[in-house]
């Protein structure tokens, strides 16, 4: 068993997610020291192939999280469709079947809030492209717990509603273009 990582990254994306994630995740180096949780809005009734796609494309291992999945450094965990993903402390993932939040399950807010609870100032939260307001409240929770908030530059987003809402909720968030995000993540092992 590897030791508990010292920090974590959590990413939320909706409409346009695949393209946005494709310019971030494959650019991360092998041996990246933090776990990366990825919450994407998906159709509830279909199997998701995101983890398989990114496991192929990335130098890091990508998996779809199952309930009580242990958290390890350098692994990309995708939230499965039709479940909320929560962090059960720093050592494992818990899934939940609770009601949709902002019509979404997985909800980015729910995941971000539980990650903020677990990781405090050791967490970086990133809101990417999307056509609703999910993620704004969660990013605020991350900021309030001392974590780092990053938002994709809305002018570069496929759908700018979600990054716009996140910036409104977190005026201090760093606004980065997609290619800047992996370099930021690779150079800031906060």
């Amino acid at each position: 068993m590897s030791k508990t990582p010292e920090g974590a990254v959590i990413i939320g994306a909706s409409a346009g997610a695949l393209e946005a994630l494709s310019s971030i995740l494959p650019a991360l180096p092998a041996g990246y020291p933090f776990p990366i949780f990825v919450i994407v809005h998906l159709p509830p009734k279909k199997r998701s192939v995101l983890a398989e796609i990114f496991n192929e494309k990335c130098r890091l291992r990508a998996i779809e999280a199952e309930d009580k999945e242990p958290v390890e450094p350098g692994v990309i965990y995708f939230a499965p469709p039709n479940y909320h993903l929560l962090l059960e402390g720093r050592s494992s993932i818990a899934l939940s079947n609770e009601e949709e939040v902002l019509f979404s399950r997985p909800s980015i807010d729910v995941a971000f809030e539980s990650a903020a609870e677990a990781w405090g100032d050791r967490l970086t939260g990133i809101v990417l492209t999307g056509a609703n307001h999910d993620g704004a409240r969660g990013l605020q929770a991350i900021e309030n717990s001392g974590g780092t908030a990053i938002v994709q530059d809305p002018s570069t987003a496929f759908a700018r509603t979600m990054p716009d809402a996140a910036i409104l909720a977190c005026p201090k968030a760093r606004i980065l273009a997609l290619p800047e995000i992996p370099s930021y993540l690779s150079s800031n092992f906060k």
């Binding site: 009580k68 999945e69 059960e88 609770e98 009601e99």
Partner: protein, 277 residues
């Protein structure tokens, strides 16, 4: 400060769960903290308390608080034939084994409002197994059990149930099993002929019989790992060699201390079979 001391809210949550246990013998103390925290915050906000401690005082002194707390603490989100591929796998792969038994006992653990129970009863009727089967439907929430026993659902959900049933390989029309009135759909009471509804806790109660099939879906995701092991231990002890255990789509026995007592029977549907271990 925050790193060294347990957060005040977490202390309050622990105390509230102790209060529920000592006052009413409902034991949520080993539920997964992340989701309990979220639901108790919801309860606090919606019931209008300033703190979880203030809510705890009412839990201790006002018995009417118990059903209200249970509504928040037990998650009741289900559908008939939810994840149709699970029921299709039961029909195609489990049923042929079950046919070889002269009598069957099926346990739906954590049956909530009964959607999954009735799905199984209908499937067993379609497959000609209902007559030889006794279904046990258990839950800790008396309101949910009462609702399950009534078998009445909102009419708006029927379209989804019907589509799920079709995808699950349904051999009849779902409309054969219900009548509608006043925006409600009432399931035929004949579906309850062979069902025993009972209050049973996976946390504090014991094994109550030998089962050929246990279905427990999206119930244990709310438990922490040690409590999951307790529940899976109950299933292990309820199932004879070759008995079946069905879990939710994203649940797994991989992390359980009882993993060796089961083999994957239909891997992608989380249907396991009891080994001799």
């Amino acid at each position: 400060m925050i790193d060294t001391y347990e957060k005040v809210e977490d202390i309050e949550i622990r105390l509230l769960l102790e209060a529920l246990y000592h006052r009413y013998h409902y034991d949520f103390r080993n539920y997964a903290m992340s989701s309990i925290r979220r639901r108790l915050r919801q309860a606090r906000e919606q019931l209008g308390f300033s703190t979880i401690s203030a809510m705890q005082e009412h839990v201790l002194h006002d018995p009417d608080m118990l059903p209200r707390m249970l509504r928040y603490l037990t998650v009741q989100v289900s559908e008939m034939f939810r994840d149709p591929s699970y029921f299709l796998a039961i029909r195609q792969k489990v049923v042929p084994h079950l046919r070889t038994y002269p009598s069957l006992k099926i346990w739906v653990a954590g049956c909530s409002a009964g959607e999954e129970l009735y799905s199984l009863v209908i499937l067993f009727r379609e497959e000609g197994l209902e007559e030889r089967t006794l279904f046990y439907a258990t839950d800790i929430n008396p309101d949910a059990l009462a609702q399950a026993e009534t078998g009445v659902y909102d009419i708006e959900r029927v379209r989804l149930f019907t589509e799920n049933h079709r995808q699950a390989g349904g051999k009849s029309s779902l409309s054969d099993y219900y009548t509608t009135a006043y925006n409600r759909c009432a399931l035929d009471k004949s579906l309850r002929r062979n069902v025993v509804f009972s209050d049973h806790s996976l946390v504090t109660d014991q094994v109550f019989g030998e089962m050929q099939f246990v279905s427990c879906r999206n119930v244990m995701i709310y438990f922490d790992r040690p409590l999951q092991d307790r529940a899976i231990g109950l299933f292990r002890d309820s199932l004879p060699h070759n008995g079946f255990l069905g879990l939710g789509a994203k649940e797994t026995l991989r992390f359980s201390t009882h993993a060796d007592s089961f083999r994957e029977f239909v891997r992608e549907e989380k249907i396991y079979q009891r080994t001799r271990a």
